[in-house]
Amino acid sequence: MEFATFHFFLFFPVAVILYYLLPQRFRWILLLLASALFYCAFSWKYLGLLLFAAGFNYLVALNINRGKGVPGRIIYVAGLTGNLFLLCFFKYVNYWGIDFDNLAQILHLTYPPGVTGVLFPLGLSYFVFTSIAYLIDVKNGDIPAERHAGIFTAYLLFFPKVVQGPIERAGNILPQFHRDHAFLHGNIRQGLALMVWGFFKKLVIADNLAPFVGLIFSGKSSAGGPATAAGVLVFGIQLYADFSGYTDIALGSAKVLGFDLVQNFKRPFRAHSVRDFWSRWHISLSSWCSDYIFLPVLATSYNVKRYLGRYSLLKWLSAEKIMYTAGSYLTFLIIGAWHGVGWNYIIVGLLFGSYVSLDVLTYNLRKRLYGKRLSESRPGLNRFLDIFITMVLVNVVWIFFRTGTPAQAMNILHNLFDNWTLSGLMKSIELMAASGLDGRQLAAGTAGMILLLATEFLPENTDCTARILAAPGYIRWSMYYLFIAIIILYCAGETRQFIYLQF
């Protein structure tokens, strides 16, 4: 079931009440059943698949370090391969389905009908990455294998995060399943406050801005430069409000149950470089890729340096920068592929990889030009310029992310530079007026967007939720009722699926 549904508003309070009524030793059963029910509401067919995968990972982890030498390595490799096969089969079989059919015909192979038309199990990308991280951490001895099958399955299927993350590392959350969570008013208040903020971002901001973004990206007629630029910028905000809104609801609902999930966003609109952006955006995915892809590649710098050192002509090359570039491209191509197959996602990966690599490769030159350290945030106008340039670079990538194909993205880019004149502005206004967009809806989304951006630029360590929770009761309750009223009055008439649900 989705968060923003009547079913969830029935399901969640019942789950919480039962959870706290049960003794600690039985709570994992409640969480497992609740998570299974939550997932079943999306697709009961794939619940069996996830349960099977959970059992597979459970057994692999228990046996990874039991078999010494080759047997243990075989089990380990089989575990990683099994997870990757699961992800690749479901994520890419539809895309390559037609080619599979042609190839099968040539090879005179037969398979059951509909195999190449399978749908993608919701949350599988997050599930598989969580499982892979778990197996690697167990193999490396960072965490012990979980011996309780029920708790392990409850961890993988934990309903706040199963369909859209965050990608939770076992070392962070598995110990929490073994702890006794007392009923604490603080957890309930903090959790509910986060959930309200998440629903506000999703229902008032993201869903109200979606029709405008859809109009601009429909490509049916050129909206002119000004409207296209506005549409591209607003999509970035819609995407952030949608995804971080889900994350806040996930973190909040887990907090109500006494669990602390990992932060997935850290004010990405404050990013002063694309490197900094990825330390603030979808943090659970970027840190996963950093730990399991980027750093292993970067660590080969030592060996590459030894190799380059043998050849006098190659000695001037920096092994670290070469491997940084290689690691960046590989990481972002995998991030692109994680989202889906298609040239648009490959271009997303190539663009982000290029941004980050060029940043490092040209660092010394730019430092000579500007005369000061570039990595940290610079004060004043320079800071504004850094943030503006970063957002422009990121929004160019979001164009490819939003559109279905590179051709559609190039069309949007063409529209972006089209007709930046007074007549172009008038054309944009005419298009908006004739489009049938709900003005009230757009106004609500815009107001919410302004509020969201305002909170982004509060001092870095300001925790708005904590500030509200620490306020006197009459202020706190006024804020709660105000936000709930705004959500009820100004939520979009049509609740849209969360954007990241498709991944």
């Binding site: 490396n140 960072d142 490197r275 900094d276 330390s279 950093s290 730990d291 980027f294 750093l295 292993p296 970067l298 660590a299 710098s301 030592y302 340096k305 920096s318 670290e320 920068k321 940084y324 960046s328 980050v356 940043d359 490092v360 660092y363 350290r373 990595s375 940290e376 945030s377």
Partner: protein, 78 residues
């Protein structure tokens, strides 16, 4: 190498000139410590200590003390 000298080297390579760094300073929490900083640490450990750090060790760097521990306490004196 003296600890003060190592910290000076670290500040110079990571360009944290205006930041007070001590042995218990959490490098990861500093504004500007990112993947490029990790790349710089790789170059520094190789050049000055001939020490190779694994990916897991690089991921585990937190404080200056932790980095010195990964390089090897025998390389440092107070």
């Amino acid at each position: 190498m003296k600890i003060e000298e190592f910290i000076r080297l670290l500040k110079e390579h990571l360009e944290f000139d205006n930041i007070d760094i001590r042995p218990d300073t959490n490098l990861k929490a500093l504004d500007g410590f990112d993947s490029m900083s990790i790349m710089t640490i790789i170059a520094l450990t190789d050049e000055h200590f001939s020490k190779k750090l694994t990916a897991r060790q690089l991921a585990s760097i937190t404080t200056v003390n932790s980095l010195m521990g990964l390089i090897g306490e025998e390389h440092f004196c107070s």
